[in-house]
């Protein structure tokens, strides 16, 4: 079986494979797994996979389908072959993540206070101050520990050169951590013997770390803070995760209608009267939080919440206005933020990015469109995007005109070849592209559990790992 997988890997994916070296050897951390896989009767994996499906359905680890009527919900495909990261490599990742998220929090504090980085000319002021997600209401507001982003999900990929790159910082309401936790539970249940072969770093304490982080963000002077998770409701696609985290932390899962603001404090309606709320882990985007302050048509929000927040009577995680630091227009500056605030060189690299607002970058990109990926600054989910190598001449020419019309709306990056990992698909085991989303918690200090969520593109050759577009997930192991 091993040789088949190797052949498949070599044939299909010339880039970096997590399990096999280019010469065909198995990489150190994967050796025991490869031997175990080779000895495994082939039907056992099929049977285990079926068992996993059943368990996921029963436990209800599903992805709500909007407008669902039947009580049937979709599963996010779970792959039974784990992704393994060596302890040494994780140390590097952890160091880089800690550094990056710290700098991003310093940046957020700065732009809502003294704006030193803007005055120093490191980032053009108008790019920050006119940004859609820049919230004037946050100016001058002092947050506990000066932390804005308590929960960050940083997307990391490994390129063909074998190096890790940060692809995106998610600083608003990143999701996926419940799958990380459930995937581990599932693997331990399905293949306990594998955990005898490896010393896998635990992740199960994430809800505890999250609760500590949230409690640490409570308004000053609150002794035993009451924490809640605020969800848009059961029809939100990530509702499972909201409910799961609330349950795991032992806190209430609230909707906006459960909350009210009275005399500058936030309360929830309970069967025994109003109860004070000190910390809101909100999974609702900024514009919907408070109809009095933001979108007046929002029914997901709590009227008066922003006022209570500005009085310092309630904490929001993440803070309002973090989105200014995590989109594609700000991404190219993150290495500079690290140098500016921490006086350090970035441990984790950015993907090289051309900002088409700069004439030099624009000229280069227009000359090299067939080999680049061009993205809209505000776009997401693969919309408004040109993938040079797979586009026709006509498509490229049309896109060239759109760039020329509004260059500052675009950035460009080289086409990455995401690393692959053997994955169980219809045809058997084959290499599929993947990324990694570790979750970084910032409270009194920065904490994370080893690993994160590995997302895998199940279509052959596909680079799209999003669960909304047929991506799956793998358990992620950091091993000694």
């Amino acid at each position: 079986m091993t040789t088949n997988v190797q052949a498949a890997v070599k044939g299909e994916a010339p880039g970096y494979d997590e399990m096999y070296e280019a010469g065909g050897g198995t990489r150190g951390p994967y050796e025991a797994l490869a031997r175990w896989l080779a000895d495994l009767p082939s039907d056992r994996l099929i049977e285990k996979r079926r068992e996993a499906d059943l368990l996921f359905h029963r436990v209800g680890i599903t992805f709500a389908v909007y407008g669902d009527e039947d009580g049937t919900e979709r599963l996010i495909p779970f792959d039974t072959i784990p992704r393994i990261i060596s302890r040494a490599e994780w140390r590097l990742l952890e160091q880089g993540l800690r550094q990056r998220v710290t700098a991003l929090n310093r940046f957020l504090h700065d732009i809502y206070h003294g704006q030193e980085i803007l005055r120093a000319g490191v980032i053009p002021a108008e790019q920050v101050l006119t940004h859609d997600a820049y919230q004037v209401a946050m100016a001058g507001l002092d947050l506990p520990h000066q932390v804005y982003c308590h929960i960050a999900g940083v997307d990391i990929v490994r390129n063909g050169d074998g190096k890790y790159y940060v692809l995106e910082d998610n600083l608003r309401t990143p999701s996926g951590v419940s799958y990380m936790l459930e995937n581990r539970r599932m693997m331990m249940r399905l293949f306990p013997e594998l955990f005898g072969l490896y010393n896998v770093a635990p992740v199960e304490h994430y809800p505890q770390l999250l609760l500590e982080t949230l409690r640490a963000s409570a308004p000053r002077g609150v002794r035993d803070p009451v924490v809640v998770v605020l969800t848009p409701g059961q029809y939100n696609s990530a509702y499972f995760e909201h409910a799961f985290l609330a349950q795991q932390m032992g806190v209430e899962l609230v909707e906006a209608s459960d909350l009210c603001v009275r005399e500058g404090h936030v309360f929830m309606h309970t069967t025994s009267g109003h109860q004070r709320v000190d910390v809101i882990y909100r999974r609702i985007d900024d514009p919907y939080l408070d109809p009095l302050a933001f979108r007046p048509d929002s029914v997901l929000g709590v009227p008066g919440l922003l006022a209570a927040y500005r009085l310092g009577n309630v904490a929001l995680s993440n803070a309002i206005g973090t989105g200014v630091a995590d989109d594609k227009s700000m991404y190219p500056y993150v290495p500079e933020m690290i140098r500016f605030y921490l006086g350090e060189e970035p441990v984790l690299e950015n993907v090289r990015t051309w900002q088409l607002r700069n004439p030099d970058d624009l000229r280069y990109v227009l000359d090299h469109l067939p080999e680049l990926v061009v993205k809209e600054v505000q776009g997401s989910g693969g919309y408004g995007m040109l993938i040079g190598p797979t586009s026709s001449r006509g498509e490229i020419d049309a896109f060239r005109e759109r760039i020329r019309a509004n260059p500052s709306n675009y950035i460009a990056q080289p086409t990455l070849s995401l690393s692959t990992c053997p994955t169980y698909v219809e045809q058997g085991i084959a290499p599929r592209h993947l990324d990694l989303r570790p979750f970084v918690l910032s409270g009194r200090e920065v904490k994370m559990v080893p690993g994160g969520l590995t997302r895998v593109a199940l279509e052959k050759g596909s680079l799209v790992v999003n669960s909304s577009q047929g991506g799956g997930t793998k358990d992620t192991w950091v091993v000694d």
């Binding site: 009580g71 409910a243 209608s257 459960d258 069967t271 025994s272 009267g273």
Partner: protein
Amino acid sequence: MLSRVGDRIFWMSRFMERAENTARILGVTSNVVLCSTPETQEQNLLAPLSITGTTDEYFERHDRISLPALIDFIGLDPGNPSSIYTCLKLARDNAHAVRWQITSEMWETLNAAWIEMRSFRRESVTGPDATRFFDWVKDRSHLFRGVTYGTIMRGEAFNFSRLGTFLERADNTARILDVKYHILLPRVEDVGGALDYYQWTALLRSLSAFETYRGIYRDQIYPIKVAELLILDSRMPRSLAACMEEVHHAIARVHGQSDQPAKRLAAVLQARLVHGDIEEIFSGGLHEYLTDFLTDVNELGQRVQRAYLVTL
């Protein structure tokens, strides 16, 4: 507990209980109709509509009353807000909204019932197999109540589930009694005739009280004894006395703020049943008694909502 969550649990339990009682009413109706005279047949067919308060809705859709149309309307019609179909849907929807605050067994029981409900074909339910459908509904309700009792922590979720179940049952038993007595009472002096015998046993059976009646009274079936059993005997689990005892216990366990109006009324209603006398009830008029009781139970339901479940 969040008021919204309490409210969902309360209504989840009410709708499941309502589905069961509706199935009981339909079950007994299809039995009684088989041995009715032409004059009483129409009355018997109209009774379920009167009990569920849907007579007008029925005749908006149907020109005349017939058993298959009745079963279709009360059992399966998604457009009828009190059909069994609608009750099961609402029970499931309420459970879905709080599936993380109830046990997974409770959620799975209601979800499975709803999925199965949707698979019933109308023809097969309104035909000779109707009884199987009614039994299935009763079984789902028994299962759900048992699963709830056997799995949920004894806390506010449990209390509100019990409150919902027994308030609903008290309401339903009173309605069944009231309507059936209307049909049966004019013929009291004929008690003992074969036809009445079937009518009375059907009523008792619809409330799972036939064997109990026989066991307690070891006598032929007298209306006043039937009423005594179904109103005042707290050993009989569908009687008004038993329901109000459960309601009273459940509400006493709830920790609330400004909930005295609700708790007081629950205590008063229970005390009245404990100390009630069937002769007295009859001399004041059974129909009047039941009408007052229904008003009180309705008021209690509203006080429970106001005290605990409304988010203002």
